[in-house]
Symmetry: C2
Subunit: 443 residues, 2 copies
Amino acid sequence: MRVRNPRTGEYDFEFQECSPETIRSTARKLSANQIAWYRSGIANRIAVIQEWKQVLISRKELLAGALAEDTGRSWETTAEVEWVINSMDKWCLVAKNFYDQHNEWIPYPIVTVLSPWNFPLVLSMIDTLPALLSGAAVMVKPSEVTPRHVMVLKETIDLVPGLNEILCITPGTPAAGAIIADTSSLICFTGSMASARKVLQAASKKMTPVLFNLGAKDPAIVLSSANLEMAATAIVKGSTTNAGQSCLSFERIYVHASVHDALVDLLVAKSKALQLADTHLLKGEIGPIIFEKQVLTINTHLEDAFASGATLLTGSRKCEQINGGYYCKPTVLVNVTQNMLVMQQETFGPIMPVMAYDQLDEMIEMVNSSAYALGAAVFAGTEEEALAVAQRINAGSVSINEAALKAILHYGDSVSFNWSGVGGLRIGPENFSRFVKKKYFHF
Amino acid sequence: MRVRNPRTGEYDFEFQECSPETIRSTARKLSANQIAWYRSGIANRIAVIQEWKQVLISRKELLAGALAEDTGRSWETTAEVEWVINSMDKWCLVAKNFYDQHNEWIPYPIVTVLSPWNFPLVLSMIDTLPALLSGAAVMVKPSEVTPRHVMVLKETIDLVPGLNEILCITPGTPAAGAIIADTSSLICFTGSMASARKVLQAASKKMTPVLFNLGAKDPAIVLSSANLEMAATAIVKGSTTNAGQSCLSFERIYVHASVHDALVDLLVAKSKALQLADTHLLKGEIGPIIFEKQVLTINTHLEDAFASGATLLTGSRKCEQINGGYYCKPTVLVNVTQNMLVMQQETFGPIMPVMAYDQLDEMIEMVNSSAYALGAAVFAGTEEEALAVAQRINAGSVSINEAALKAILHYGDSVSFNWSGVGGLRIGPENFSRFVKKKYFHF
């Protein structure tokens, strides 16, 4: 398979997708080895993960370099690598506590992880690490859009004795994913609704359970009492990190009418201060749109908004092609209405559509009417005032006076609402309960 | 819809299935009322369930009478009605404890319960009661095979002020179930794998989560040290209750070769002591096969077993038609092999295929090779010896020296393995976590 470079538009990388036969024979091998891995105990599994951590640290620059080529962006890449390495200690500690309490729980033998291209390393490891620690063998299929870093990751796996006997990572298309899923006893899927439906159809053949982490349309809610400077900083950061290609991005901003203009002025100023990293990876904050097809979605949402009366205050009227890559500037829209695509569907770009509200109840109804409900943030003068609103928002995780705290703090059990996710707690100590089945003995 | 009577074979009952329009407008009504139901608090919800309990007690005989006509059997009917009434106190107590601890959890607004014909009352109420207590509105679609008792149940609901605003129960075909499921935010399904696949396909349109309770092929394992008299009593009871039409039935018996003949003699003697209740509902222990199509499955499994060398020691070579109903005597088979249908697929009849084993490891491998893994039982001379084997069985619930303790004791969180179930703990205090989503506030 030939792979496009998001900065140049050139197909400058190639990899060989696994054949169905190889996938099936690998699954058989993993399945045979899983029993010993589970029986080896939690202390041994933690030791193996810790050894892997040391190898990853020693190859950190190689990994980050390949991941930067995959994604075309810089600081988010470094953050991703650090996040994953740090998460290994966290998961080991949580796993120890969990299994000390629940030693009769039994893991699904083979867990399949199907992961996306937007945070390719974090979003494959977020399921792989706890699944491995649970005693499962794991087959990971990262997106075919960002396969370069996977080659480095494979090398690190081969350097840890025994690890490649229970962990296989191989990039591929959704078709390869379907075959991998077919060999699995539990599927973890992170990606789009369209792909999710296909996975579910495939899984229904064997009634294989699937844990879904799907799209999002997270709102930022700014009450009249909010510190606007602080809110604007958080919103611009929350909307533009990874050029908006994040499930935790703010994709719609609801602000009380009395402070609408003041907030918008701040959003515009802060957006203008951010530069595209179009000439050099390390120059500027906003990287390219990683997946070419996403450009069409962003453009369609923008076009629809303008056709229905939205006004562009700063940013891009459509994605701009520069040196072969596609870029979208931090974009602030006003005069938006709830029925626009940009307020309804996942855009996955650095777009801030801002809508004024008068009545709190009406605003909360609009917020809760979304098909998605992953996270949200509320900005207010006091934490108490913010919490009172947060309690009425249908979303698994609500940040108070900050953006995407879930990703930074990474604790607290929560479950996505509506279409954002199905099946269990992904962040927080209860994560492990997703990978095991509980057994009870009746006397 | 005309409905067959399982004792006479006559179509002596009729009911009107809800139209798709009625279903959709009912769902809208329930959805609108659910918010107030949830906000009314756990104390109020418990009070409503307690009031319903009093109404049910006052109509107990009517309900049991209709349910006996639905199912054609007597003592299991009384037990079902008692079980459901008693479970109301239990769920109220558990709900109080659960919501005192988890007051930030938010229910799915509309829960759909699709329930089967084998224990029609228990298996609709087992999901409905905790869902209601969680603050959800509930639409129940019991099987169209056993609708008579539903009419009585509807009357009891109408007698409790407010209850019919958040609870609707209407029997219907799988087609009606698909429409009900389409209006739902969470689906609880109990039934066959074939129907489950259809539900999952329908649910995948809106990615509605589905909790499945599917088939089973529970083994009884008898070690050489077991008290054979006690084991035989439990096995015959566990295999023949409800004429074997139970997901908790023993459907395969593994016994150590040294005690095979002695156990088989006891099984035959105890089976012969049970009478068909073919002439009168209250005369004899074994009722009819409730669902006509199930007769074909039982006959196919028996035919296949005999064609492959199984020997009938007592019971029916095939289901017998008596006075219009179909009956199967408690049936003991020997010379069975693991590859026979009767050892592989769910039979749902009072059949005990007995297989001798020499090596413990080989037996456990056979036990765990099943596509199903709901429960199991181990019989041994000491609880320690039984537990050592139980720990190696892949099943959510293992009874020690008894049959189906899960149904009787009804505590202990467990999860079904393999095809027997997907999605959460049904019995035990964690049941409630199935109906709510957890939310976390990050400061």
